[in-house]
Amino acid sequence: MDRELILALSGVTCRYPGAPRDSLQGVSLEVRAGEFHAVLGPNGSGKTTLVRAALGLVRPAAGRVEILGRPARGWSRRDLARVVGVLPQREDNLFPQRVRETVLLGRYPYLSLLGGVRAEDRAAVERALVVCDAAELADRWLWTLSGGEYQRVRLARALAQEPRLLVLDEPSASLDLRHEMELFELVRALVDGQGLAALVVTHHVNLAARFADRILLLAAGRPAGAGAPGDVLTRETAERVFAWPVSIAPFEGRPQMIPLRQRKDAL
């Protein structure tokens, strides 16, 4: 039986005003419930544009984007925020705040204009904190957190939205090995345990290959490969996309990519 289709892009082409070429060209993608989908590609290959198009922030010049069968740009931001939780690459912390307040922001799409925070909102916040192993951080100030703790808190905020789909844009860019592994294992556990769909944009080819069910590989805005990690990450494709010689070796049934040294001489 097919699992429920959450996010579907077909033939999406995007170009920013004044840009010399399309940021995305003819990209298709399907993310289903209970599926971990990774998007890989070098800098400037269109990964973040893909996220923006998928979430209705960028209007595609061609192609269709649908979330739960409805066009992405047809959703109100509030309704969409009840279905999709996002960890953007960057965000500001203009004014000091505590962890629990931050996670509570994830409940804003559920709060009415005049009403206050309800018991069910507080319960959702606590649940999200526990799931992300951040309950003991709840009363800390945000600025006192380490990079790994901060990402867990932001993931808790996204989970407080009670979404069907999680979108993570380079979630482990500044994390050390342990925190990176913890984050990917947590997302994988959420996908397996709660049937969430996950779309994870990352530079980490090997982590994507280990954790993802499916991979979309982008090169200069075009799809360079899509499917199961073992089918996408071949030596030829990887060398072409990343413009560097690599060796591919299997590990626990998944391909792992090892970049080769090119220069053996001394200067």
Binding site: P88, E91, D92, L94, F95
Partner: protein, 313 residues
């Protein structure tokens, strides 16, 4: 708790504003004195309302341009209001409402110009463009103001400059009524935007992912906060620092969530300005200081302290 505290402080401030003054009104005559009913009370109430409006407007604009050093007058409003006021005086427009109306028109004109600049080239009220546009429009208006001043009769312009520094000597129940009728709409718009403004502090893209309609939010907040400031400047001149300091004080004490920040900033702004106005009309009695000078003298040290805190943390 915080509202009880602020309400008590507001009552004390308004009480002091009514009791203190250059004319000696015995305490037992307070309730029957026309000086109190026709002069001190409407003046204190107006100062309170204007201070509240500036406090709320400051909170909203700091959240909108996501800059903690923003102030309601940063976006060219004071320049536009000054130009309107000086033009009204230079043209000798008649009637008691000519000056405030001209200042209001000037402020709204400047606001419209900055707003238009902020939408140019599809830039959806980019904070950087708003700030630069505000400074540019303000400078332009100031240049024209100075040109008019340099060509006009000297005696009348003293009034214009004193007016620009702000004051409530012209306060009456009519002015209070005008503000009471005018302010609820922009205040209501801002109150309804309280939660989305919490989200906007994260940045525009994260705010949208958490459910805020950022495009609409920014337009509404910009217009409401500017119209609130324009009304304040029309009835009381340019009163600096209230809209800068009050938001920061309230944030320090009661946190950064706008549902609490708006009402506390309204009360604290009202208290600060009513107190400053009482000082302005009593310390050099029977003459008066422009109230903007009092708020600046109180405000600059606080501002310096805040800047220091900011750089330390």
């Amino acid at each position: 708790m915080k509202y009880v505290l602020l309400a008590v402080a507001a009552a004390v401030t308004l009480g002091a504003a009514v009791i203190l003054g250059p004319a000696d009104v015995p305490l037992r005559d307070i309730m029957s004195s026309p000086i109190v009913w026709q002069l001190r009370l409407p003046r204190a109430v107006l100062a309170f309302l204007v201070g509240g409006a500036l406090g709320v407007s400051g909170v909203a604009l700091q959240a909108l341009v996501r800059n903690p050093l923003a102030d309601p007058f940063l976006l060219g409003l004071s320049g536009g209001a000054g130009l309107g006021a000086v033009a009204a005086i230079a043209l000798d427009l008649p009637g008691p409402w000519a000056l405030p109306l001209a200042a209001f028109v000037g402020a709204v004109g400047a606001m419209a110009l900055v707003y238009r600049l902020g939408l140019m080239g599809g830039a959806e009220l980019d904070p950087r463009i708003l700030l630069l546009g505000g400074v540019a429009v303000g400078a332009f208006a100031a240049a024209i103001t100075t040109a008019i001043v340099s060509l006009a009769q000297a005696t009348e312009l003293r009034n214009a400059f004193l007016w620009l520094w702000g004051g409530f000597s012209g306060a009456s129940w009519t002015t209070v009524l005008v503000i009471l009728v005018y302010a609820p709409l922009p205040l209501g718009v801002l109150a309804a935007a309280a939660r989305p403004l919490d989200l906007l502090a994260l940045g525009e893209e994260p705010a949208q992912y958490l459910g805020a309609d950022v495009r609409r939010l920014k337009r509404l907040v910009y217009l409401a906060a500017s119209l609130l400031t324009a009304a304040a400047v029309a009835v009381a001149g340019v009163i600096g620092f209230v809209g800068l300091i009050v938001p920061h004080l309230c944030r320090l004490v009661w946190g950064r969530l706008h549902r609490a920040l708006f009402p506390t900033a309204f009360l604290a702004g009202g208290i600060l300005l009513a107190a400053a106005d009482t000082l302005a009309r009593t310390v050099v009695a029977p003459r008066e200081l422009p109230v903007g000078i009092v708020t600046a003298l109180l405000g600059v040290p606080v501002f310096a302290f805040l800047l220091r805190r900011w750089t330390v943390s």
